[in-house]
């Protein structure tokens, strides 16, 4: 392997490019029209245009990507996460084109990609899973039968699903028929397959997942767990490693079960087995993600390993250099997904130009960021700007360090969810580890949200606020040449200048 094409964008593309550079591998970036000035392009050795902004015309064009790999002489493709990363056909097409796909073989991806197939694989591997069906439901009647067997409440889920689509919680038998039709048609619309299955609804579950790494020779290690229970609309918001509630014993049990599943499916490279854990610390197989995940850095911080470098070495055909007993967890890491969205206005997306960017730093802080001052965040892709990761000796140190870093962070020109993190990280329940997948929605539903998390201990005197506002307004008025560069402040500037005439 000499040259790697990174079939992705944003922070993960830059993450992979950095790993390649550190290992002496040449890199090829691809970009859509709105990403010509993106950081992943700036850091690559070569760069090629894919097409217009929409992903379907650019980052999802496997055919174009393989053509660019051929043209540039890239002998491997890293898919990152999202886009083509879980597309078995693309993985197959890579192999057919003589290009290494840095990820699992297409066969393992297919076997574990469908949720119903994965549930059967979990049964074969002797892994506990949520009770329910392991094949698609043929009819409402079958659904009623299965539900009666396991008992209400139950959850309907799309077999091909993800991101919360095609999912319905059903609390009473009389609601099942309508929910079945709704979930199935939503699944059909979203994934092109109406197949749904049914499982018992776990109450107040924690989302805990095991990171795996497997080589081509049957070597497979688990690299501890991550807890991702802080979710909004089934999307992870904060991740941490280790979990506040997983004992050494539980970790070993979950880890060994995950390894069994991977080995049974012929899995190779990085993968994650997701579990639900109930209040009695029972764990249930949820699904397997057959790719690198967004939240992999927290595992890197506590294991001291570099998962992307490991992925590259496995894809080169090297055996794992780490045995299970070499994996030693140390300290605690927390990750915040910094998004361009407005937590004070329905979490509406906030694409646009970043007019000021001051990033945090110092001890225990890592940032995987793909934006810069002057960058225009496109409206065509997911709103992630950056991943901020804090490490500390204990969970408390990591949380307080993250709060310190968030306070240092300045992103201007667009809205971000930084204040949401400040709220969560200061919340007593979060700090005590009392979280489950419904935690964040409950927190957000709580009343006077605004001040609770955002204001620091000391209130700023009103006069200070007034003087600061006046100085900024006066500055905008005087610095006529800088109006263009401060963008949004122009309204102030205009008003300030008018005042200036009277002063």
């Amino acid at each position: 392997m000499k040259k790697v094409l990174i079939a992705n964008r944003g922070e993960i593309a830059l993450r992979v490019i950095r790993a390649c550079r550190e290992m002496g591998l040449a890199t090829v970036a691809v970009y859509s029209d709105v990403d010509r000035g993106a950081l992943h392009v700036l850091h690559a050795d070569e760069a090629y245009r894919l097409g217009p902004a929409p992903a379907a015309e650019s980052y999802l064009r496997g055919d174009l990507i393989l053509e660019i790999a051929r043209q540039s002489g890239a002998d491997a493709v890293h898919p990152g996460y999202g886009f083509l990363s879980e597309n078995a056909d693309f993985a197959e097409a890579c192999v057919a084109a003589g290009v290494t796909f840095i990820g699992p073989p297409a066969s393992a991806m297919r076997r574990l990609g469908s949720k119903t197939m994965a549930r059967r694989a979990a049964d074969e591997a002797g892994m506990p899973r949520v009770p329910g069906s392991v094949t698609g439901l043929e009819s409402v009647e079958e659904a009623q039968q299965v539900a009666a067997g396991i008992g209400y409440p139950v959850m309907l889920k799309a077999a091909a699903g993800g991101g919360g689509k095609g999912m319905r919680a059903v609390l009473r038998p009389e609601d099942l028929a309508a929910a079945y039709v709704a979930a199935s048609s939503e699944a059909e619309r979203s994934f092109g397959s109406g197949e749904v299955y049914l499982e018992k609804l776990i109450e107040r579950p924690r989302h805990i997942e095991i990171q795996l790494m497997a080589d081509e020779y049957g070597g497979c290690v688990y690299l501890g767990e991550r807890e991702c229970s802080v979710q909004r609309r089934h999307q992870k918001v904060i991740e941490e490693a280790p979990s506040a509630v997983v004992s050494e014993e539980l970790r070993r049990k979950m880890g060994e079960a995950a390894v069994r599943l991977a080995l049974a499916a012929g899995y190779v490279n990085a993968g994650t087995v997701e579990f639900l854990v109930d209040e009695e610390q029972n764990f249930f197989f949820l699904e397997m993600n057959t790719r690198l995940q967004v939240e992999h850095p927290v595992s890197e911080m506590v294991t001291g390993l570099d998962l992307v470098q490991m992925q590259l070495r496995v894809a080169m055909g090297e055996p794992l250099q780490v045995q299970q007993e070499d994996v030693r967890l140390r300290g605690h890491a927390v990750e915040c997904r910094i998004y361009a969205e407005d937590p004070e206005n329905n979490f509406f997306p906030s694409p646009g130009k970043i007019t000021r960017l001051v990033q945090p730093g110092g001890p225990g802080i890592r940032e995987d960021c793909a934006v810069y001052e002057g960058w225009v965040v496109p409206l065509d892709y997911d709103p992630m700007l950056s991943k901020l990761i804090a490490y500390g000796e204990t969970r408390e140190v990591a949380i307080d360090r993250m709060l310190r870093a968030l306070e240092e962070y300045v992103i201007r020109g667009i809205k971000t969810n930084i204040s949401l993190f400040q709220r969560i990280l200061r919340d007593e329940d979060f700090r005590a580890g009392r979280i489950d997948t419904g935690y964040l929605e409950r927190l957000l539903a709580r009343e006077p949200a605004k001040l609770e998390g955002i204001v620091s201990e000391d209130k700023v005197p009103e006069d200070v606020v007034a003087v600061v506002a006046a100085l900024f307004a006066a500055s905008a008025a005087k610095e006529r040449t800088s109006i263009a560069s401060v963008g949004q402040e122009s309204r102030w500037a205009v008003a300030g200048r008018r005042e200036g005439l009277r002063a």
Partner: protein, 166 residues
């Protein structure tokens, strides 16, 4: 220079010495609502300032129509007396034409109504998408669509008028 500001709903009057260059900073005596306040302001970058008053240090960042001081955000309006008049008169009742505006920048993925169509209150009229989030925008009132300002594929900014219902 005299500035009239509205900060989190409260009106303030701040007077700065005419000779003071706020884009550079320094020690300055201001008059806030009649009280003299002495501060030391230091501009690090445009829009980033360190303010020291009575030994307390405040890291201040300008953010659009707000200032962020030590992690807390304060909405600020610079008042222009001439514009107040207009603002007061701009309230419109449910009776007149009402516009459906984009609540966020995005791309129009569906237009659900045509000109002349009758719509009910809360009926979806346009779907816009940004960053993989779709948003169905609804009519604020029952009435007739008198204007459709966008077509599928258009890029719209936050606040742009999409549809007008009368």
């Amino acid at each position: 220079m005299i500035l009239w500001l509205v900060i989190d709903g409260k009106s303030r009057r701040v007077e700065l010495p005419a000779s003071f260059d706020a884009s550079v900073g320094g020690t300055v005596e201001c008059v806030v609502d009649g009280r003299v306040v002495v501060v030391d302001a230091c501009v690090l970058q445009p829009g980033v300032m360190s303010l020291v008053m009575d030994g307390r240090q405040y890291r201040c960042v300008l953010d659009g129509d707000a200032v962020v001081i030590g992690g807390a955000r304060y909405g600020v309006e610079v008042e222009d007396p001439r514009s107040l008049q207009g603002r007061r008169g701009s309230g419109v009742g449910a009776a007149g034409p009402r516009a459906v505006k984009a609540p966020m920048p995005g791309r129009v993925v569906r237009v659900l109504v045509v000109i002349g169509e009758d719509v009910t209150e809360q009926q979806g009229v346009v779907v816009i998408e940004a960053m993989k989030m779709q948003n169905e925008l609804k009519s604020p009132k029952a009435g007739r669509v008198v204007r459709v300002a966008v077509v599928v594929g258009d890029t719209v900014g936050s606040g742009d008028v999409l549809v007008v219902v009368e």
